[in-house]
């Protein structure tokens, strides 16, 4: 990969979205969006961001970058897609999602058409948030738009100009740093200093989504001790009241939501599986115990109760100070030194 001095990021929020991924990304600090844009990280190409929620330009002034990219004038560019991709083929007229107006026809330009125009020319394509990655909330059962994830639309075998597949960064919304960190990785790849981004078979960065919620959850200790809560206001394991953490790929309990603060089960919220391809349908109703949890929690409970009782004995032992810490004229620490009236400083330290 040849080094590139400048990269444009074209960000379509006009999927079926809530713009929540863009807003979430403004919370990022590792790195912050301004670190990327203002050259705060050494060796990154200069970055120009075009996002409708943040852009100073309005209307045609904003849209010109999309036309320029289509005409090959902004190479290389990264295409970021936010929101589920609607199915525009299931009806005879109208559209589900669009951005900008076609100057020739006066008609809106459907989001799918923008994806068709730009994706084949993009150096990298990123799907941000669970809507764009796998369909998400708007693709739940009974939806009228037939919407889907970007890879469902472009094909899972799609390759961007860099040779990389679509890069999926799921989360509803995306964890802020997960996005900016992945973009930073890709920019270093564009700069020629990082190898091809490592992705799993669901096209997620492996270092972010290789572990489960449970593996990073600070309540997992309660699970191991078979100590499950049946009500909300408890610091204990939430599996019995609907937490799917043991089977969900996500780093949020470990990383926190921002600056290590917040999260889901670690702060009292059941994991509803919002990073997953099966979200939301396979996790609903959210507030019921997951089917597999009845068996696993029963199995762990007998072990957990026994271990907990043994630990409580050890715990009470280690909660007592050693017996030689006391006042009085006798030294009972076991020190074998030569005590004199003048003091104990006799060089045995």
């Amino acid at each position: 990969m040849a080094q590139v001095p400048e990269v444009h990021i074209l960000w379509l929020t006009a999927g079926l979205s809530c713009d929540g991924d863009t807003v979430s990304v403004t919370a990022a600090e590792q790195p912050a969006i301004e670190d990327i844009l203002l050259g705060g990280l050494p060796g990154l190409p200069k970055v120009h961001l075009h996002n409708p929620v943040l852009a100073p330009e309005v209307g045609d002034d904003f849209m010109k970058y999309f036309y320029q990219a289509e005409a090959g004038q902004l190479d290389p560019f990264v295409l970021v897609v936010e929101g589920s991709i609607p199915n525009e083929d299931i009806k005879s007229e109208g559209y589900w999602a669009a951005q900008g107006t076609d100057p020739d026809t006066g008609q809106p330009i459907p989001t799918c058409e923008w994806i068709d125009r730009l994706a084949p020319k993009a150096w990298a394509v990123i799907a941000v948030g669970t809507c764009a990655t796998y369909g998400g909330i708007h693709a739940m059962e009974g939806n009228p738009t037939g919407c889907m994830g970007l890879a469902d639309y472009l094909g899972w075998q799609f390759r961007a100009q860099s040779g990389a597949p679509i890069v999926n960064i799921p989360g509803c919304p995306v964890q802020p740093d997960n996005f900016t960190e992945t973009v930073t990785y890709l920019l270093y790849q564009a700069a020629g200093v990082s190898p091809m981004i490592p992705l799993d078979d669901k096209l997620r960065p492996t270092w972010l989504f290789g572990k489960t919620v449970h593996e990073g959850c600070d309540r997992a200790g309660y699970y191991e001790q078979g100590d499950f809560t049946d009500h909300y206001d408890s610091p204990k394991c939430l599996v019995k009241i609907g937490c799917w953490g043991p089977v969900v790929n996500c780093n949020v309990p470990k990383r926190g939501w921002m600056r290590g603060i917040g999260g889901c089960p670690n702060v009292g919220g059941i994991c509803i599986g919002c990073t997953m391809p099966g979200f939301p349908d396979k996790f609903m109703p959210f507030m019921e115990e997951p089917p597999g949890a009845t068996f696993s929690t029963t199995a762990v409970r007998s072990y957990g109760l026994m271990i907990t009782s043994l630990r409580s004995i050890t715990n009470s032992t280690v909660n007592k100070e050693p017996k030689w810490r006391h006042r009085g004229t006798q030294l009972t620490t076991g020190h074998k030194g030569n005590h004199t009236q003048e003091g104990t400083h006799d060089g045995h330290y």
């Binding site: 079926l16 919370a27 929620v53 209307g59 669009a98 408890s234 009292g268 919220g269």
Partner: protein, 371 residues
């Protein structure tokens, strides 16, 4: 009950000398907005205007037949900037429907989360979204004369906020490169941490449930919130005089600017921040617990309070589809509720009776929908 007052003036049809001007998309706003106008420059008036929202998702369709306990998790996803407000309202509605009540500590946790959300909204809206309209980059391009004046105008509160001239404030508002833009972004992260302390995640909270919150209300959580709140208060002591300086200058530099957005005073608010001492989530007592909310519900017409009863406000709400690409449900749609629990009649156009019917035959070639 509340009467619906017709406020819209009919625009006189006029075809000569109108200039078509369109902005699509309107940026720095959530929701894919486009504005299409015909402007009468001779009389300095907008003769015709319509707006579009170019995305349809269908929440009221795909939420049908889902477990009502899941509602707040789903409705939060309607908006990515105020997702928490949707989740909170959904929890209030769930509490009323199930006849359950959030325990007092949980209510305070929700209130503190909402308060942090409002602080965040103020930060990011005022200085990272709207503020950009007043930045050097923008003013230089759209009003070079105003930029010249701003360079000569010293800021009255410079000793408080540190910016010597109005032009210095405008330069500080430039997106990302501006010092004050970045400072606000930084403080908005502080407010979002406050939110996460109470509700787990931002923009879609993780710890809200019908009947309570999952947040463990420890002393540490409230200490961490308080420390951040006081940092925010310190910041705002600088922000308020800075905004005063900037907007006072704009009124002075652009005569008539104060008329932008000026219209009949028609305000509606259904309140915020429940008081756990009075809020029992019963419909029968709703007018009472509504009045004891820390932000009182009200409808204000021409500067006068018409009502502050949540029951009246609720029953007065109508969904009017006159200018949208939806079919009305009045003739075909199912009527779900004829009377409220107090026996008052509920209108067919009330949201409780809503059915979403995207228009199949478009009235014009543009089939814009909103959802």
């Amino acid at each position: 009950m509340t009467a619906i007052i017709e406020t819209r003036k009919k625009v006189l049809p006029q075809t000569e000398g109108l200039v078509e001007m369109n902005w699509d998309p309107i940026t720095r706003i959530v929701g894919s907005l486009g504005i299409f106008t015909k402007i009468d420059f001779k009389n300095k008036q907008v003769a015709e205007c319509y707006s579009t929202s170019s995305i349809f998702r269908g929440y009221s369709l795909f939420m049908k037949n889902k477990d009502p306990r899941d509602a707040h998790f789903i409705t939060s996803r309607i908006c990515g900037i105020c997702g928490d407000n949707h989740a909170t309202c959904a929890v209030y509605a769930q509490n009323m429907a199930f006849g359950v009540k959030t325990p007092p500590l949980g209510e305070w946790i929700i209130n503190l989360g909402e308060a942090a959300e409002y602080m965040f909204d103020h930060n990011i809206f005022q200085d990272n979204l709207v503020g950009v309209d007043f930045c050097e980059q923008m003013v230089k391009q759209t009003n070079p004369g105003v930029w010249d004046k701003a360079q000569r105008k010293s800021a009255p509160h410079a000793s408080i906020h540190g910016y010597r001239t109005i032009a210095d404030i405008m330069t500080a508002l430039n997106p990302f490169t501006g010092e004050f833009y970045r400072e606000t972004l930084h403080v908005s992260r502080n407010t979002r941490e406050m939110f996460c302390l109470m509700e787990g995640r931002h923009v879609h909270p993780s710890t809200l449930y019908p009947g309570g919150t999952g947040t463990a209300g420890t002393i540490q959580v409230f200490t961490d919130y308080l420390v951040r709140l006081m940092k925010y208060v310190e910041f705002m002591k600088k922000v308020v005089p800075l905004h005063d300086d900037l907007f006072d200058f704009m009124y002075e530099a652009l005569p008539g600017y104060e008329k932008v957005g000026y219209r009949r005073t028609l305000l509606g608010c259904w309140g915020a921040f429940n008081d756990p001492a009075t809020c029992d989530y019963s419909y029968a007592n709703m007018a009472n617990w509504g009045r004891s909310m820390f932000v009182t519900p009200s409808v204000i017409v021409d500067g006068k309070v018409v009502t502050n009863s949540l029951v009246d406000i609720n029953l007065g709400i109508r969904i009017l589809l006159g200018s949208s690409f939806y079919d009305h449900w009045q003739n075909e749609g199912e009527i779900f509720v004829q009377h409220d629990p107090l026996g008052n009649p509920v209108d067919k156009r009330h949201p409780w009776n809503q059915t979403t019917t995207p228009l199949r035959k478009s009235a014009t070639s543009r089939t814009t929908t909103r959802g």
